[in-house]
Amino acid sequence: MAIVYQKSAGLTDKELHYCPGCNHGIIHKLVAEVMDELGILDTTIGVCPVGCSVFAYNYFNCDMQEAAHGRAPAVATGIKRTHPNSPVFTYQGDGDLASIGCAEITHAAMRGEKFTTIFVNNAIYGMTGGQMAPTTLIGQKATTCPLGRTKEQAGMPIRMAEMLSTLDGCVYAERVCVTDIPHLNKAKAAIKKAFQKQLAGEGFTFVEVLSTCPTNWGMTPLKAKEWLTDNMIPYYPLGCIKDIDAPKAEVK
């Protein structure tokens, strides 16, 4: 009898608090599997955000810090600059990273901080109950845009991976999703690549993972998968946005 798949050693035995079908659990396990496969669980220091994944420190089987809302990249900067040989990552949602923490993520990328950011974009504020996020799509309903987001009132949604990729300090930016096994495999490969580039000291690495929020989107998990594919991917195209090799990654 050979084990084909079992829960990653990168996760603790704590039961996840996420809603049924929430993609956070899948993304957690991909990060955990990558850390385990790279053999860095014993050295990594993670930083979790405020939002649905606020309790991520209970789930990752590595040392963790819980940051104030949006400040994870600043916290990670403090850790990585003083522990340059330790792998460091932040795990952040769209309200945390693209709204209140937009300055922190932008400047961490600008400085080429050598940590990895896993950005979970589900186009809504989950934990506070489904309010509009900077990533909420035009026409998408949320509790603070009950008639649907309009360009006139709230502007167009922000594409963080593209925005950060304009900064020289950002050496890798890819957008992925985890709606099915092929996409999940690509997502894991992207996360692994981001960590590997970090370990090689190349610069700031960023993986945006499109995610569902069945509860606040008001759909079943399976419907939410379809909605993501039909609505999010056209606006937030999947694929590698930036991948520059080490020699060119030097911040001039």
Partner: protein, 356 residues
């Protein structure tokens, strides 16, 4: 030991390096910009970390990250910048991380002015951030004290796992004064076995966190913090009494006004007035008991509180300590205007005359 002439802000920065500060995160603001400037050059020389952050908010959160990972971390700023740091300070207090924060106070509110002031007493001693927390607040009144307190602040922070604020003002930061680099007593400090340094074989993960979602657990955490604050209050109160043995009028002042008051007292004493000075050095924990006892002394007729603040902020703590035993009058300027010796002398004479 030889005296050396140092500018306050640069001396503060050098003192931190001598105290083993591992990392400094800061943002330019007048009148403290010489601290990050000095650090940017000299921290790397010692193999230490300097980062100019994008904001005060980021700076204090970099302190959080580094302190949480076991480092001696520091930031400095001036009043409006310290306002921005309040979010980080409450998280640092909640997560029980040691760090040193220097506030080189300037006039407020808002942008105010870049000249010295003491309008941040409430913010420093009451906590400008949310929740029930305290920061140890050390108030130097000259560059030598600033240098000594900054060095000791790192030990105090590590001993109690608590942020320590060194509350100076623009005068102390900008002034050049002779100082002596003498050994500051070192404390016996607990190991940082709670820090997130990577598991390295540890059988559990270390987590740095201020979130206690269960109300009962959050209540317990607050009681735990309160017990720690009681311990700090028991151990760390500092103050100076000068010429108080026979004083009929006692000046209360901290920082720069306390220094000016010394000259006023000398003049008044020469004229035969019995005046003294009570100077809180720790603004939190406040020297409540010694001041209460001084107020109970028969020879003390009244207090004259002097602050660089329009209507006084420390005066609230003076009143709480004096508990109505003796009258308290006030002299103050805000917005960067410092009280003069002449004003203090006049105010003291007026108060003494009215008391008769």
């Amino acid at each position: 030991m030889e005296k050396e002439l140092w500018k306050g802000n640069e001396a503060i920065a050098e003192a931190a390096i001598r105290a083993g500060c591992d990392c400094f995160f800061g943002y330019p603001i007048t009148p403290q910009s010489e601290v990050p400037e000095y650090m940017s050059l000299h921290m790397p020389e010692h193999g230490k970390v300097f980062v100019q952050s994008e904001s005060e908010v980021a700076a204090i959160n970099m302190v959080y990250g580094a302190a949480g990972a076991g480092m001696r971390a520091m930031t400095s700023s001036s009043s409006p910048g310290v306002s921005l740091k309040q979010e980080g300070i409450t998280y640092i207090a909640g997560a029980e991380l040691p760090c040193v924060i220097v506030n080189c106070m300037r006039g407020g509110p808002g942008l105010g002015t870049i000249q010295p002031a003491q309008g941040d007493y409430f913010q420093a001693t009451r906590g400008g951030g949310n929740g029930d927390y305290r920061t140890v607040v050390l108030a130097p009144s000259n560059v030598q004290e600033a240098v000594d307190f900054v060095q000791e602040a790192f030990d105090i922070a590590d001993q109690y796992r608590n942020p320590v604020v060194v509350l100076a003002d623009g005068l102390i930061g900008q002034m050049m004064e002779p100082i002596v680099w003498h050994e500051v007593p070192k404390r016996k400090l607990p190991p940082k076995d709670w820090a997130t340094t990577g598991k390295h074989g540890r059988d559990h993960t270390n987590v740095v966190n201020s979130l206690y979602i269960d109300p009962a657990e959050c209540d317990d955490h607050n009681h735990h913090l309160d017990a720690k604050y009681a311990e700090i209050t028991k151990n760390e109160v500092r103050f100076e009494e000068r010429d108080c043995d026979d004083a009929e009028l006692v000046f209360t002042a901290y920082g720069t006004p306390a220094r000016i008051a010394i000259t006023a007292i000398e003049q008044l004493r020469e004229e035969g007035y019995k005046v003294g000075l009570f100077r809180p050095i720790t603004l939190w924990p406040f020297p409540e008991k010694p001041l209460h006892e001084l107020a109970a002394a028969g020879h003390v007729k009244q207090f004259l509180d002097v602050e660089m603040s329009s209507s006084g902020q420390m005066i609230d703590d003076i009143r709480l300590a004096v508990e109505g035993q003796k009258p308290i009058s006030f002299l103050g300027h805000a917005g960067g205007v410092m009280p003069t010796v002449e004003e203090m002398v006049e105010a003291a004479k007026k108060a003494l005359k009215e008391a008769k």
